[in-house]
């Protein structure tokens, strides 16, 4: 539309009706071209979002029609629902640990893979390969077998005479196993880091080396600042993704034992599809959206103090 509009404007004030019609046709063609996406977005994304907003003010059990209850759902979430507070704190704990761990670990792997070595492409493929099955149910099932009471982890520990706990069935360790799983699923984050590392001009390192900088100094003074936009991108997506963690909690622990891994998305899911409280679940979804949006705004606000853009001429904004 932009180009068509500019062209119409460039034709000057005296543009004839015919020309305007031509511009309109061009607009129409443009809309037609994007219509598959547009229709899909309107019907499958925007409309359900609007619907869920409406449902969040109702009581709706699927079997009977939605009944308007005003802000009751929201009032109940904040005033009475102890499970809401519990699942939110579990989720915050999960995000707090898993996001930094994942960033750290994937950067480490990316740096290791960012060397010129024979057969490096093979290593890169091998390291990235498990990510193809990524956050799938198969991996979650594998995790359950590894960390179960008689799982592989405890079998290995037994060789050293250590009696392991039931990592998944113990409320003190269950969340830890899920954080570990999330950290292990570093593939896509790592690839983005790797691409970022490749973008850093080699001459920066060379001139630093001439000035006698060691590898730690090079990392702190060159790699980290040059990588900060990529880091920021990974951080924002990581926070959003972690807040929506569902598969691992659903498959591995079912939110238990005793709610110790009752993630927010899991709580929402059970409200909707186990207890059929669609209205309440919709309200929970909107609360989650607001929380994630707020955190994202905070992230963007904080970024001006640590993210470095080359285009700004070397200053953090």
């Amino acid at each position: 539309m932009g180009i068509a509009a500019e062209r119409a404007a460039a034709a000057g004030r005296g543009a004839s009706a015919r020309r305007r019609k031509a511009a309109g046709d061009a607009n129409l063609a443009g809309y037609l071209f994007i219509s598959p996406w547009l229709i899909g977005f309107l019907l499958l994304t925007l409309w359900p979002i609007a619907q869920s907003f409406y449902l969040s003010f109702t009581e709706y059990s699927l079997l009977s029609d939605p009944a308007w209850t005003g802000t009751d759902n929201y009032a109940k979430i904040f005033a009475e629902d102890a499970t809401f507070a519990k699942s939110l704190s579990v989720t915050f704990l999960f995000v707090l640990f898993s996001v930094p761990l994942k960033l750290f670990f994937s950067l480490l792997v990316a740096m290791a893979l960012n060397r010129n070595m024979r057969g490096m492409n093979l290593y890169r493929t091998a390291v990235y390969f498990p990510s193809l099955i990524g956050g799938s149910i198969a991996v979650a099932a594998l995790w359950r077998n590894m960390f179960g009471l008689d799982g592989y982890v405890n079998q290995v520990l037994a060789w050293f005479g250590i009696q392991g706990v039931g990592w998944i069935s113990n409320p003190d360790t269950s969340l830890g196993t899920l954080i570990l799983l999330n950290t292990w699923q570093f593939g896509s984050t790592m690839v983005i880091f790797l691409a970022g590392l490749k973008q850093i001009p080699q001459e920066l390192y060379e001139s630093a080396a001439v000035d006698g900088a060691g590898s730690v100094r090079k990392f702190v003074r060159i790699t980290l600042p040059m990588l900060s936009p990529v880091m920021f991108f990974n951080l924002v997506l990581g926070v959003i993704g972690s807040f929506q963690t569902f598969t691992s909690a659903f498959i591995i622990t079912k939110g238990g034992p005793v709610n110790s891994t009752y993630m927010y998305a899991m709580f929402l899911y059970e409200k909707a599809f186990k207890h059929y409280q669609m209205g309440y679940a919709s309200a929970l979804a909107w609360v989650l959206l607001v929380i994630v949006a707020l955190l994202t705004v905070v992230n963007f606000a904080a970024s001006r103090y640590w993210v470095f853009y080359e285009s700004d001429g070397g200053k953090t904004r």
């Binding site: 994304t45 869920s52 059990s61 039931g166 005793v258 059929y276 979804a285 705004v297 285009s311």
Partner: protein, 441 residues
């Protein structure tokens, strides 16, 4: 210029990020709904009909039912089927979405625990006019009615009992449980068995679910926890404290497995089943489910009825039904099929005991000579239970969350995170609120 450009980029990123978050949240809550749209539309082209049928169960039931459907199509060439089958959990997750979109298949399996809810919502067709003379015992038909009308044809006899590892109990010199044991005898049996079992093995499992306590409360002559369609709620505090204090002592004395171990159990999993793994000597089993256990540990399973109190104990009745959707376009054909399902000899042979003991005595007699050991166990549970059986109590409509809460609060007790008294207070409060809400409608 550079600054403006990067600010623009940041704004775009922010916008797209928020959009991403919205999409993610939405696809999570909406994902299940779309799967049901293509079901239950019986095509009506001339005489040819397609009946949708949906059921839950294990693989053996799926195969047997598909075979029965083929037989029906052979006998009635104008009727074809669109079968859908899944496991219990998936079934009850899917059905509400189908109900919401009025696309429940023509014929569907129903359970005693849910049928009331679906009848209340007007989702099931009245089947009272189907002639079941000589097929189903008139008393059973009468007992299956809801508000004087029949909404589901009972398929089988079912009962709740306890399975035990007869081989290992004999090995350690522990007497086998006897029919009509009382709760006191049951608890004493567990204490005595503890003394004879080696470390790492336990006589009985822990109890953290509402139905375990409901059995106890009703057997002691009290009313069930939920009555009157959920309008009455009665959790007897004295019995509650006595029951769970007993289990608290049992945990300390290692008569029941520690909570961490119990949380890892998964019934009917070859490695994680409490009994098949050799860790616990007993566990609950029903007529319909005991065969799966027997197959995991052939020849080792014995059965007994639930412990009883002054009023009796356990239950023995039909819990699986075949219903017809109120929105079906082929109601007459569906009703004809449902009657055939419980009366046809060939169907009976194909279905075997995959839904428990067939409700039709003629079909059961025809199957009896060729019954496998695992099927005999199911029949044994039923025969042992029927004398002292109490009614089958299901959670009332709208109580599913309370059922979950009950287990979570009691789990917290077994992990030593809260006292029995605190758990009682929370469970009781939530139950009373639900009852008040159900009564207000």
């Amino acid at each position: 210029m550079g600054k403006r450009k990067s600010q623009g980029a940041v704004l775009t990123l922010l916008a797209s990020v928020l959009l991403l978050a919205a999409c993610g949240g939405n696809s999570e809550s909406g994902g299940d709904g779309q799967s049901g749209t293509d079901t239950g539309k019986g095509t009506d082209s001339g005489g040819a009909k397609t009946l949708g049928m949906m059921w839950w169960g294990p693989d053996a039931r799926h195969e047997a039912t598909k075979k029965a459907l083929e037989i029906y199509t052979q006998q009635h060439s104008n009727v074809k089927f669109k079968p859908e089958f899944m496991a219990w959990d998936a079934y009850w997750q899917k059905l509400p979405t189908l109900a919401a979109s009025k696309s429940i298949p023509d014929v569907l399996q129903m359970d005693a625990a849910y049928i009331q809810e679906y009848v209340t919502r007007g989702q099931l067709e009245d089947l009272s006019d189907i002639d079941l003379n000589g097929i189903v015992d008139p008393n059973v038909v009468e007992n299956s009615k809801i508000g004087g009308k029949l909404y589901g044809i009972p398929l089988s006899q079912n009962a709740q009992g306890i399975a035990f590892n007869k081989e290992e109990l004999a090995q350690y010199g522990i007497p086998l449980p006897k029919q009509n044991w009382t709760y006191d005898e049951f608890f004493q049996w567990a204490r005595d068995a503890r003394a004879k079992l080696p470390e790492g093995k336990y006589p009985i499992g822990d109890s953290t679910t509402w139905d375990g306590f409901n059995f106890y409360q009703t057997s002691m002559g009290k009313s069930p926890v939920m009555a009157d369609g959920g309008k009455t709620f009665n959790l007897d505090k004295d019995l509650f404290m006595k029951f769970y204090n007993t289990y608290e002592d049992f945990r300390k004395a290692k008569i029941v497995p520690p909570a961490e171990k119990a949380a890892a159990f998964l019934e009917n999993d070859p490695k994680a089943d409490p009994m098949a793994s050799g860790v616990v000597m007993t566990r609950g089993a029903t007529t319909g489910s005991v065969s799966a256990l027997e197959q995991l540990m052939p020849g080792k399973v014995g059965v007994v009825n639930m412990p009883i109190g002054p009023s009796g104990g356990g239950w023995a009745q039909s819990t699986i039904f075949l219903s017809v959707s109120a929105n079906s376009k082929n109601k007459d054909e569906a009703k004809k099929f449902v009657r055939w399902f419980v009366s046809d000899k060939d169907a009976g042979e194909a279905l075997g005991l995959t839904r428990g003991i067939p409700i039709n005595p003629d079909i059961y007699k025809a199957l009896e000579p060729s019954m496998q050991p695992q099927d005999k166990l199911g029949k044994e549970i039923y025969d042992l239970s029927v004398e002292k059986a109490l009614p089958f109590y299901s959670a009332a409509a709208g109580y599913s969350e309370w059922v979950d809460t009950y287990k979570k609060e009691m789990d917290a007790v077994t992990f030593g995170q809260q006292s029995i008294e605190d758990a009682y207070a929370k469970i009781d409060k939530m139950g009373k609120e639900l009852a008040a809400k159900a009564g207000g409608k």
